[in-house]
């Protein structure tokens, strides 16, 4: 146990192959990888999988039940739910990935700066983070979208900003751990520049919590987008996101349950996959992470 407290470059950053192999060996990890893989594949191949134009309306097929022509049925515009689900994977993943990218990027930078400089800079950064954190994420996201205007980019920015503090904290904690260890002092005595040392040694140490955090934040982002759609501040129609499809479908839940069933199913499967993958990743990378 004690041994693990000391960051060892070799363990913290094992070869990619070995991580994947270890994940695959764990049945949960395997399930998560397959699930995430399928969703990504669906998003990438959307133009080839989708059977209809996602915006194409059909007055003769309003609220059609699932069948041979419309596999997942149609909505109140007669649009094909299957095609919208397939393209929705793109939008939902895009929102998740970009939002988490924004959060992770800024979080990494701010965490580094805070951990490195300490003192006033750190206090200031962490205070701003506390302020962001202190605000319920959905309300903060709504606030940001109200200010910037509704668009897919602004939705991503809003969800991104909301998630910055978590990443900042993770990175700062790692920086502090690394700074206190002997080998930083050693490296310093060798004469390496401080900043360089940090980037070189902190990055591998941060990677584990970071990856895990990212998979979790990604599923959180997909859910936040759904809630924002519900409150009328989601992405712009006629682009489908699973969240907006689900929100639009509530009125028709009783008459056309497939409108709720399929987006819900795909949201659940995706989030489940990402979470399971995140869990297993943590077990593989660093079992004592508490995220």
């Amino acid at each position: 146990m004690k041994r693990k407290d000391r960051p060892v470059a070799g363990r913290a950053l094992p070869g990619n192959e070995s991580i994947l192999r270890q994940l695959w060996r764990d049945p949960m990890g395997r399930a998560g990888m397959i699930g995430v893989g399928l969703v990504i594949l669906m998003a990438l191949l959307a133009p080839w999988i989708a059977r209809f134009d996602v915006a194409k309306m059909n007055s003769k097929a309003k609220l059609a039940a699932p069948g041979a022509e419309f596999w997942f049925g149609t909505d109140h515009f007669g649009r094909d739910v299957f095609s919208r689900i397939v393209y929705g994977a793109r939008v939902s993943l895009e929102v998740g990935i970009v939002a988490v990218g924004i959060a992770a990027g800024f979080g990494y930078l701010l965490g580094m700066i805070a951990g490195f400089f300490e003192g006033r800079t750190e206090t200031l950064i962490m205070m701003v983070m506390d302020v962001i954190f202190a605000f319920p994420s959905i309300l903060l996201a709504l606030f940001i979208v109200s200010a910037l205007g509704t668009s897919i980019l602004n939705t991503m920015i809003a969800i991104g900003i909301v998630n910055i503090p978590v990443f900042t904290r993770t990175v700062r904690a790692s920086v502090k751990t690394v700074k206190s260890t002997d080998y930083i002092a050693n490296a310093r005595s060798i004469g390496l520049k401080k900043m360089k040392i940090l980037f070189r040694h902190v990055t591998p140490n941060v990677l584990a919590p970071f990856t895990v955090q990212a998979t979790l934040a990604l599923s959180g982002a997909i859910l936040t987008e759904a809630s924002m759609s519900f409150l009328g501040l989601g992405i712009q129609p006629p682009n489908p996101s699973w969240g907006s499809m689900l929100s639009d479908a509530r009125k028709y839940m009783e008459r056309a349950p497939w409108l709720v069933l399929f987006p819900a199913l795909f949201i659940i499967l995706t989030i489940l996959s990402f979470n399971i993958l995140g869990d297993s990743l943590r077990d593989v990378l660093d079992p004592k992470l508490k995220l």
Binding site: M1, D130, V131, F135, A147, S227, V260, I267, L272, K290
Partner: protein, 314 residues
């Protein structure tokens, strides 16, 4: 300990000032303002001027901010631009409701998650462990507006049941109040349960690996005692942290559920404030939520010293 608390409370001041400035600036940047909401389609330049004068919006921005903050430090959060009602008492009313909902949700989350988390850690990597983890995650995976709508539909169709439509306070009628709150709390709780379960499991796993647990076991103490008195107690710090964070996040974070179930909570108050551009309401709500968040975290830190006597603050 006392010094520590005072020091922590002092950090509140810059946070609250920061939040209040941020909100003020954002409210200026947001398109639309309270006057266009009041006048709607009837807006004319003359009417707009009247209302701006009436609400003090014709004054310079800096002056507007300082006149607000000047009153705020005396505990007066001003009056709603829309109704003219004082903001602070309304925040208090709503806070009581949201707090009740959040606490109930937490209790439900604990009831679901703690036993499952402990079970799952004891049977690590077994079939049961996997099932438990997936089930716990299911709660997190469904957007809560969808599960709420589904439950409402289900209860109305299957049992001809709808939660009481008229809100009554906890102290007016305990039974009815519980009946109103239980379904929304259950939905929120099932979402929280996932992360509580995950945290319980990993904390337990870590503690169970420790040498002293092995020692206790070797001593021959019953497994139940080992798990609850030793392992669980020692793994409860991160769990308490998480619960603290979640209660904080639930303040206002319950807005979707509040809206669907018509619960007059803090989240809806803030949301209405934002959509009506009712600056005093938004400012008051946000500051209060920020204050609460800091307090809950402080409380959590103090709680640590009770759970683990080794922790002390100087």
């Amino acid at each position: 300990m006392r010094d520590y608390i005072i020091r922590r409370l002092l950090t509140l001041i810059p946070i609250l000032i920061g939040v209040s400035i941020a909100i003020f600036v954002v409210m200026q940047l947001i398109p639309g303002d309270v006057v266009s909401g009041i006048l709607g389609i009837e807006e004319t330049p003359e009417l707009r001027a009247m209302w701006e004068a009436k609400l003090g919006l014709d004054k310079p921005l800096i002056q507007q901010y300082f006149s607000w903050i000047g009153r705020a430090v005396t505990g007066d959060f001003g009056e709603s631009f829309r109704t003219g009602a004082p903001v602070f008492p309304e925040i208090m009313n709503r806070f009581a409701i949201s707090a009740e909902l959040a606490i109930l949700a937490c209790i439900i989350a604990w009831i679901i998650a703690l036993p499952l988390g402990i079970l799952s850690s004891l049977k690590r990597n077994s079939f049961i462990d996997r099932i438990v983890r997936v089930v716990a995650l299911l709660g997190v995976s469904v957007p809560n507006f969808a599960s709420a709508t589904l439950l409402i539909l289900f209860f109305s169709k299957a049992f001809h049941y709808y939660t009481p439509v008229k809100y009554v306070g906890l102290f007016e009628n305990f039974g009815t109040n519980m009946e109103i709150m239980i379904l929304p709390a259950f939905i929120l709780g099932s979402v929280m349960a996932g992360s509580v379960m995950r945290m319980t499991r990993s904390s337990m796993l870590e503690v169970l690996r420790q040498d002293y647990i092995k020692a206790v076991r070797a001593k021959g103490s019953p497994e139940r005692v080992t798990i609850f008195r030793h392992a669980f107690r020692n793994s409860s710090i991160p769990i308490v942290t998480l619960i603290g964070m979640q209660i904080g996040a639930l303040m206002g974070g319950t807005v979707v559920i509040e809206q669907i179930f018509s619960i007059p909570g803090l989240g809806q108050f803030t949301l209405t404030g934002i959509s009506q551009r009712d600056f005093p309401v938004v400012q008051g709500c946000v500051l209060f939520i920020a204050f609460l968040y800091v307090m809950v975290n402080l409380l959590v830190d103090i709680l640590y010293t009770f759970i683990d006597p080794r922790i002390s603050y100087s």
